[in-house]
């Protein structure tokens, strides 16, 4: 493009230009400075004068960011050691990024199961169909293709009503996954209060020294046994309470009595999905993080969200013409559920769909940057630029 058309192009999208730095060869000017052009320049000059005038009239006010001091801080938890990559979470000293960026971005962990899980929604099965028979392959695909920072292996098959796999078999599944990937693991059991502690113990032993997250300890099962397994084999524990700050405090206290420190605990305050009580989770998570920063030492741990609960919502899975394709509704339901809780302070997300993971991570990655240090596009012309 010659200079003239470059300039015209530039002016199309500009409200005003800096006339001081405007340079052009004289002959070029004489030849091409069309009346339209003159008008544009005149306008620009007028606008600049207007800005000056407004600026003179208005005494520029100083803006001071409302930064606060917090007496408490969130513990930093490390997952992954031994042959694993290291992943850090938590460590916040403030509530908001403009006060001080988070030391660690939120982490996403992909859900993988020890059985083929016929019940998984179709939009997810699509991505993992050929690897569902082998948790190791499943985990590998999540890491290689979808960039998972971590993998959660759910030992659903150990459920007495599922396949009643033995703790030994569970340990073998853990070994398979440990062999297949080098990211840290979250190890989940089947949700059976009698069997879970035994399964988690066997899994913890199989992953000795790798610093996994044992999911989970709660008040309905032998949490002491889970805590002991974590202490003995160097893992962290997920402390799960059901949308109740006091229950969470109690459980954390009990776990710390068993020898765990805040650096060994991640809390799960329970994820109610979008439209299914998400506001309860919002309230509990907000209160928990505020209490931590205000100095409540029983709540100063990072938080986790079982974001995949979102797939249980009928808006995510139910076929219904008037609602549009489930292919889009499902991932959005998962994103909204995770994102909402991420904005309340959750640090680690258990998720299923690659697109949801990608979008959540993109927004989460901005949490570690300083205010006004990102290159942002000029959006002042949006009214005319939008299609």
């Amino acid at each position: 493009m010659d200079k003239m058309s470059q300039l015209l192009k530039l002016l199309e999208k500009t409200d005003y230009i800096e006339i001081n730095n405007f340079r052009m060869d004289f002959d070029e000017l004489e030849l091409q400075l069309a009346p339209a052009m003159q008008r544009v320049i005149k306008q620009a000059v007028q606008q600049q004068t207007a800005v000056k005038k407004v600026q003179e009239q208005m005494e520029a006010l100083e803006f001071i960011p409302p930064v606060q001091e917090y007496p408490g801080e969130v513990a930093e938890v490390q997952l992954g050691a031994g042959t694993r990559k290291k992943v850090l979470m938590g460590g916040q000293k403030t509530l908001y990024r403009f006060e001080e960026p988070q030391p660690n971005p939120p982490v996403v962990t992909f859900d993988v199961f020890d059985i083929p899980m016929p019940g998984l929604p179709r939009p997810i099965r699509e991505h993992f169909l050929e690897v569902m028979d082998h948790p190791g392959d499943w985990a590998k695909k999540a890491v290689k293709e979808f960039g998972a920072n971590m993998v959660t292996i759910h030992l659903i098959g150990t459920g007495p009503k599922v396949q009643d796999k033995t703790p030994r078999e569970a340990a073998q599944d853990i070994e398979e996954v440990l062999q297949a990937v080098d990211v840290p693991l979250v190890i989940g059991a089947s949700g059976d209060p009698q069997k879970d502690p035994i399964v988690l113990e066997a899994a913890a032993a199989a992953a000795e020294g790798e610093r996994c997250l044992l999911a989970s300890a709660n008040l309905d099962l032998d949490y002491k046994r889970v805590a002991k397994a974590a202490v003995d084999y160097n893992h962290a524990v997920l402390s799960w309470a059901i949308t109740d700050v006091n229950m969470q405090k109690t459980l954390n206290k009990y776990l710390m009595k068993e020898g765990l420190t805040p650096n060994d605990i991640v809390m799960d305050p329970t994820t109610c999905a979008l439209g299914y009580g998400i506001e309860f989770s919002v309230d509990v998570i907000t209160r928990t993080r505020l209490s931590a920063l205000k100095g409540d030492t029983d709540l100063q741990m990072p938080m986790s969200s079982g974001t995949t609960n979102a797939w249980g919502s009928r808006e995510a899975w139910m076929k219904k013409e008037e609602w549009g394709p489930t292919n889009y509704r499902g991932p959005i339901w998962e994103i909204f559920t995770g994102l909402t809780l991420m904005l309340c302070g959750v640090d680690i997300f258990m998720m299923l769909h690659p697109l949801s993971v990608q979008l959540l991570s993109e927004i989460g990655s901005t949490f570690t940057k300083n205010y006004l240090t990102t290159d942002v596009p000029d959006i002042s012309g949006w009214i005319t630029e939008l299609e």
Partner: protein
């Protein structure tokens, strides 16, 4: 911060005259503090106290009406940063844009789509709130012509142009409908404020990533006598979203915690900007919805959106409904007996709980399956089936009381109660206490209509 009842009480006449309809001044003060009654209801106030109370009660964020009469939407009015502290007021207004470059027919069709977009959830019809007209053409005449068409729309309007001449042309057409003017910046400030004052319209201040200038412009506009402002600190839809969040949060924190008069206004976000960078309808829709959720979670009072696919709007509408429920009240329907379809003494009897989400889900499933049945609704203080099972509200005794008190035994011959699959652990107890037989239904009520059909076929 919420004003306490005590702070209010001090300024009341303290005569307990009951003219306000409350038993005492203290009761009135409590209701005022919870925003459940209007100050004007107390007729005995002296002007000075009245003014003091009005100032005291002014919400941290100014409440602003866009539009007039039944073509209007109210935004702002919030008192707290976190909903658990009180509640959020005035749900985020969801606005869809149209452009003055559209052909008349196309424009009318899009207006029609916006007006008719709806999604029913928990007994509530969720809809969109307003239409934003963009001066995309950059042409004054075109903007004016398009406003003429929008004048007939049933939703309130936002007029988007940075050109005061175009704004003037449009306001001359629809100014009496109190549109939101978008936007004033450093360049056009004077003319825009004059127009807003002349036509008594709320005005948006646009100052992307620059809260210093935002503050200056806000002060200037207020000094000129403009009270209804909306703040747009810029929406960055990619990596800049972190900055946008910071801006939104700082504005709201200053309003609520520091009562900074320059920032006590509703905030506007613009998820529509996603489409400057995204062409794919599906990717764009998912991203735009994500940005909308991000900003709505962080205090956006207005969102301008471009996509109109229902699968994109459903989650946004749902999130809004959730965040704006009142945490002080259970979301519940009345307990008791509900009748669905054509009934006789052989009709089946079903049971559910009075959590609004549970009730409307079950009712919706029964209606869409054309089921004819009695539905006993147990008052579980607004708890879902499994929640009230775990919490103890759903038990043999409470269900028996419901059966006896509802009078169902006089209406049907059957003594079989169909309970939700999730309530199965309670079936024995219900049978023992009530003398009814219990039949465990499906876990999810989407299968209940078919379940009833099978039942009928088999009998």
């Amino acid at each position: 911060m919420q004003v306490t009842a005590m702070e209010i009480y001090r300024l009341l006449p303290k005569t307990n005259c009951e003219k306000c309809g409350e038993a005492s001044c203290m009761a009135f003060a409590t209701k005022l503090s919870d925003k459940e009654i209007d100050l004007e209801m107390c007729t005995d106030l002296e002007p000075k106290e009245m003014q003091e109370l009005a100032d005291l009660l002014a919400p941290a964020v100014r409440e602003i009406t866009i539009g007039t009469g039944n073509k209007s939407v109210v935004i702002g009015g919030d008192e707290v940063l976190y909903r658990y502290e009180l509640t959020y007021y005035n749900p985020t207004a969801l606005i869809i844009d149209v452009s003055d470059t559209m052909e008349e027919a196309e424009l009318k069709e899009r207006i029609n789509t916006i007006e008719n977009a709806e999604f029913e959830r928990i007994g509530e019809m969720l809809t969109l709130d307003a239409i934003a007209l963009r001066n995309a053409s950059g042409d004054v005449q075109k903007f004016k012509e398009a406003s003429l068409i929008l004048k007939e729309a049933s939703l309130p309007l936002v007029l988007c142009t940075m050109d005061p001449a175009a704004m003037k042309a449009a306001v001359e057409v629809v100014g009496d409908q109190r549109p939101l003017l978008y936007a004033a910046n450093e360049v056009n400030m004077e003319e825009m404020v004059d127009l807003a004052l002349e036509y008594d319209c709320p005005l948006t201040i646009f100052s992307p990533n620059d809260l210093g200038t935002m503050k200056t412009l806000s002060r200037t506009a207020q000094n000129k006598g403009l009270k209804d402002l909306v703040l747009d600190p810029g929406t960055y839809v990619a990596d800049g979203i972190g900055d946008s969040l910071d801006n939104f949060i700082m504005i709201r924190r200053l309003a609520v915690e520091e009562r900074d008069p320059d920032f006590r206004f509703p905030i506007l976000g613009m998820p529509a900007l996603t489409w400057l960078y995204e062409e794919d309808e599906v990717q764009g829709g998912i991203r735009e919805a994500t940005i909308a959720a991000t900003l709505m979670n962080n205090f956006a009072d207005i969102l301008i959106i471009h996509g109109t696919n229902i699968w994109e709007l459903i989650p946004v509408l749902t999130l809004r409904q959730s965040l704006y429920t009142d945490p002080r009240k259970p979301q519940a329907v009345d307990g008791g007996l509900y009748e669905l379809g054509d009934l006789d003494e052989d009709s089946p009897v079903l049971m559910t709980t009075n959590f609004a989400l549970t009730y409307y889900t079950v009712e919706g499933d029964l209606k869409s399956g054309n089921a004819n049945c009695y539905l006993l609704v147990l008052d579980t203080v607004g708890r879902a089936v499994d929640v009230s099972l775990a919490g103890g509200q759903l038990n043999g005794e409470s269900v028996t009381d419901l059966i006896k008190e509802s009078g169902i035994e006089d209406k049907v011959k059957t003594r079989t109660l169909i309970i939700p699959g999730l309530a199965a652990p309670m079936s024995g107890e219900i049978e023992d206490e009530s003398g009814w037989e219990v039949m465990v239904g499906p876990r999810d009520s989407s299968a209940v209509a078919d379940f009833l059909i099978d039942l009928k076929d088999n009998s």
